[in-house]
């Protein structure tokens, strides 16, 4: 359940931004979560409701998760390919010499604040 710590980090960033940019409440938080990252979006949403309830800034906020598909660069065939999981072979050459280029994101993208 590392989603709990990750959610606490999200709320910490929200509160820091509230102090820095002078807003009182956040209505929506958009996260970018890669499909290859270690985050389970359902668990994150579950934790978010619990953690946000304790925060004066984030109380009642909505969480929106944008999934980022996985892509990898194949070192053997020098092309970029979509991959669904880390251990997927290169769809073109079948090799495993892949460097993940997207899909590992765990970012706060945007917030709607008031």
């Amino acid at each position: 359940m590392h989603e709990l710590s990750l959610t606490q980090s999200v709320i910490r960033i929200v509160e820091q931004e509230a102090a820095r940019q002078g807003f009182a409440t956040v209505k929506t938080v958009w996260l970018e979560i890669g499909e290859l990252s270690s985050v389970l979006p359902d668990a994150m949403e579950f934790c978010f409701q619990a953690v946000a309830a304790e925060s004066p800034v984030a109380k009642g906020a909505k969480l929106e998760i944008l999934r980022v598909p996985g892509t990898a660069w194949c070192l053997d065939c020098a092309q970029s390919h979509p991959i669904a999981q880390r251990f997927d072979p290169c769809p073109a050459c079948g090799g495993h010499h892949l460097t993940v280029t997207s899909g590992e994101e765990m970012r706060i993208k945007e917030m709607e604040v008031a």
Binding site: S5, L66, K109, E110, E112
Partner: protein, 250 residues
């Protein structure tokens, strides 16, 4: 692109730079671009830990595995084999009890126990505070024994040189693809308890092949902490890491 109104304009400046954000109004509310890694706070603290270790020429390893893979036994045997040729210290992470730290202290090495309570992993903040009480010696080797968990510790950088995943032969050989994030994050996979191979159906070559699918560069090392088989190579690898850590910071 703004996900509310669909506009594709406006700079998405990084939040650390200034306040020139992609602001615009939606009635009483406005949108602000943040573009910040959720783990940014942990990663900053981990970089602080890494700088602390580099200044002192300390080689730090983050040991990760399922519960019961033999991490603590491997550490005790490793410390005994190092036999005070250089200083070793250990940060022990468990949800509860001091049992593991006590086992390490019995070998004569310095150890500090972190109890995470309900927490499923160590984070860089806990480890940074552990340095204060542990005071690892200059030019030493520091082992950080993470909470036994093949999922959560993968995401948290502690400032270590490498993560080492320990897989014992009493587990399934397909663990590397069942828990790909951890084996992707690790530089080395120690296959422990190989003295039990005659009694279990574990295929060492298959385990290594699975691990290489998620991490083509992973170093695989079969050992038995109990009989000492493979320990020489493990110690040589640690020694080489320690040498390089000291070269960087004489």
């Amino acid at each position: 692109m703004c996900t509310v109104c669909g506009c594709g304009t406006g700079p998405h400046d990084h939040h650390d730079h200034d306040h020139d954000h992609h602001h615009h109004d939606h009635g009483d509310s406005r949108l602000i671009a943040i573009e910040q890694n959720i783990l940014a706070h942990n990663d900053r603290l981990a970089e602080g830990n890494r700088a602390y270790l580099a200044e002192r020429g300390i080689f730090a390893l983050n040991l990760v595995s399922s519960p019961g893979s033999g991490k603590t036994t491997l550490l005790c045997r490793t410390i005994e084999a190092i036999n005070n040729r250089y200083p070793v210290s250990v940060i022990e992470g468990d949800q509860q009890t001091r049992h593991d730290a006590d086992r390490i202290l019995a070998t004569g090495a310095k150890a500090v126990q972190i109890n995470t309570g309900k927490g499923c992993h160590l984070d860089a903040h806990m480890v940074g505070h552990a340095f204060e009480s542990l005071e690892p010696a200059n030019g030493s080797v520091l082992f950080i024994e993470n909470v036994g968990n093949l999922v959560c510790p993968a995401a948290f950088d502690l400032g270590e040189a490498y993560k080492v995943a320990i897989l014992s032969v009493t587990e399934g050989e397909d663990k590397p693809i069942k828990y790909p994030d951890m084996f992707h994050a690790a530089a080395m996979m120690v296959i422990n308890k190989i003295d039990l191979l005659p009694y279990v159906d574990f295929d060492v070559e298959a385990a290594i092949a699975w691990a290489r699918k998620v991490n083509p560069d992973i170093v695989a090392l079969p050992v038995s902490a109990r009989t000492g088989e493979g320990m020489e190579e493990w110690l040589a690898w640690i020694n080489e890491g320690r040498r390089r850590a000291r070269v960087v910071s004489p």
